[in-house]
Amino acid sequence: MFLLEVKNVSKGFGPKGKRTEVLEDITLEIEQGEFVAIIGYSGAGKTTLMSLFAGLIKPDSGSIKLNGKDMNGPGPDRGIVFQNYSLLPWLTVYENISLAVDQVFPQWTPERRREHIEKQIAMVNLTPARNKIPRELSGGMRQRVSVARALALKPDILLLDEPLSALDALTRANLQDEINRICQEEKKTVILITNNPDEAILLADRVIPLTAGPRATLGPSIPVTIPRPRSRALINESYDFKTMRNEVIDYLLMATDKRKVAMSKKLVLPDLLPEDLNEPRSLISAKRRPRRRSEQRRETVEVTI
């Protein structure tokens, strides 16, 4: 049995007539412990796809099953890390995580909850910043809090929605390594949505391209065969890595090209010429007026050179 089973899911937005189909015929199966990266163009519907997995929106057709059961709204069994962190700005790091933990594990003793929260904060190396509010943290630190909060719920599956795309390149690399470490330690099932092929290949067991929208759909999955632990330095040299990256990019480009269809269209230029401003304007003899192209005739005009 698969952990997450998505079958023929479609989703569109807008009223009838103006409707745009964002996603079409999405089918995906994810096994326990797998790390899957979905890569696609910006605006292709990646966030819509993630919201579907999270249960924040319902598919128009098709089914999504988690642990063999139909998904029914959002819930803490799926930990989500949003692109824009979604931390509550009036709560400290500790309080943000404790809001989640207190809600999801009310049966635990307060002592156990506190320990659990501290452990999560320590895991993302934020113990010194535990009493700071999000405003006082850098983008990378905020995102780490967001990851810690998602993992604190002990979710069956971790959904990462472009978690690193708002960060600068260096922080991004650091956090990629950290996510890699945490996911290997915790043996979590993860879906990562990204627009960066390098990131996808570095982190995932399997990369799935999402074609450009509208009517975006998932392409064939490309398994990443590079053995773990993957080092950022070595991977850049690796031949496998380059082939894989080309494969992903080629697929995405090709899928876009396929949509381009040659079409012939008759183009008609307007038949009107501008009026001749040298002619005096007069009401009686309508000499100055817009002329039709068909009225055009050759005239000899004297010009002084």
Partner: protein
């Protein structure tokens, strides 16, 4: 060196200069007393006092100070119901404002939440609110009088009795100062980022928990902006309310002194109202700053 001293004392010198300029203009247009000695028909000396000037009856700054002294220097005196020290009057007015303002907050905040949360509610009542909002306190007060005609409310524990005019004044203050709170709260609720609501949904927070843990804290900055504006309006309304009901307070005193042709005290009242309003606004903005998030 010289320049830096000027820069450092800017905050003090410039406002003082500004005030001095205003007082100068005031003294220029204010009237002056001119004594004329003439002989009457019987050959006796008679002193005639006449006021001359651009605005003959406007008291000059010196006269204003002179006549206001008993009210300012003895601010807590109580010589009669409508002859009290200026701080006594201020205290009376503030008490009345506080009651109306409190009601405005208690009623306005939930209405604002409903407006922000429910599209149906908003469509139903927003037009009414938009129509009622610009109505002047002078128009509300008579309605309040009619509403509470003959009413008498006694709160047993405190031994406070509210007459019809008290209730009308409180009603007017409440209904006039409610709107900024209502509208700002509604805007604040609508402006809550979807992300915060998603967090609540993912955690499956209950409705009450979502309200107190997410909606309320996220709206607080907007709410306090509304509260501050409301307080300004409540203080603005007090004069009108006291004038029409004849209650003792800064506004009532102002109106009485106008009728008593004691113009210097009008200026005293205006300055008091202005300064108290300013202080209230400062205090509220200090509170507001405490609740700014993100």
């Amino acid at each position: 060196m010289n320049e830096s001293i000027i820069k450092k004392t800017d905050w003090l010198i410039l406002p003082v200069v500004g005030i001095a300029v205003c007082i100068l203009i005031w003294s220029l247009i204010a009237g002056k007393e001119v004594r004329k000695e003439t002989l009457d028909d019987f050959g006796d000396k008679v002193t005639k006092v006449q006021r001359v000037g651009v605005s003959a009856d406007l008291p000059s700054p010196a006269e204003t100070w002179d006549k206001s002294k008993p009210y300012i220097l003895d601010p807590f005196a109580k010589r009669g119901e409508l002859d009290q020290g200026i701080l006594n009057f201020t205290w009376l007015s503030l008490k009345l404002v506080a009651q109306g303002y409190l009601i405005a907050l208690l009623v306005g905040t939930p209405i604002g939440f409903f407006l922000g949360l429910s599209k149906t509610f908003s469509k139903m009542f927003d037009p009414i609110f938009q129509v009622l909002r610009p109505v002047s306190p002078l128009a509300w007060l008579p309605l309040g009088m009619v509403l509470f005609l003959g009413a008498k409310l006694t709160i047993p524990g405190l031994g406070v009795t509210y007459s019809a005019s008290d209730l009308a004044a409180i009603f007017t203050i409440a209904i006039c100062s409610m709107w900024p709170t209502v509208l700002n709260t509604a805007v604040g609720v609508r402006a809550i980022p979807q992300d915060y609501l998603n967090v609540a949904k993912v955690l499956r927070l209950s409705k009450t928990k979502t309200l107190f843990k997410v909606l309320l804290p996220a709206t607080l900055p907007y709410m306090f902006t509304g509260f501050r504006l409301s307080l300004g309006i409540a203080w603005l309304v007090i004069v009108a309310a006291e004038m029409l009901t004849g209650k003792p307070g800064v506004g009532g005193f102002l109106w009485q002194q106008y009728n008593a042709l004691s113009y210097a005290h009008i200026i005293l009242c205006i300055l008091t109202i202005g300064i108290v309003g300013f202080v209230l606004d400062r205090l509220m903005s200090l509170v507001e700053a405490q609740f700014k998030t993100a």
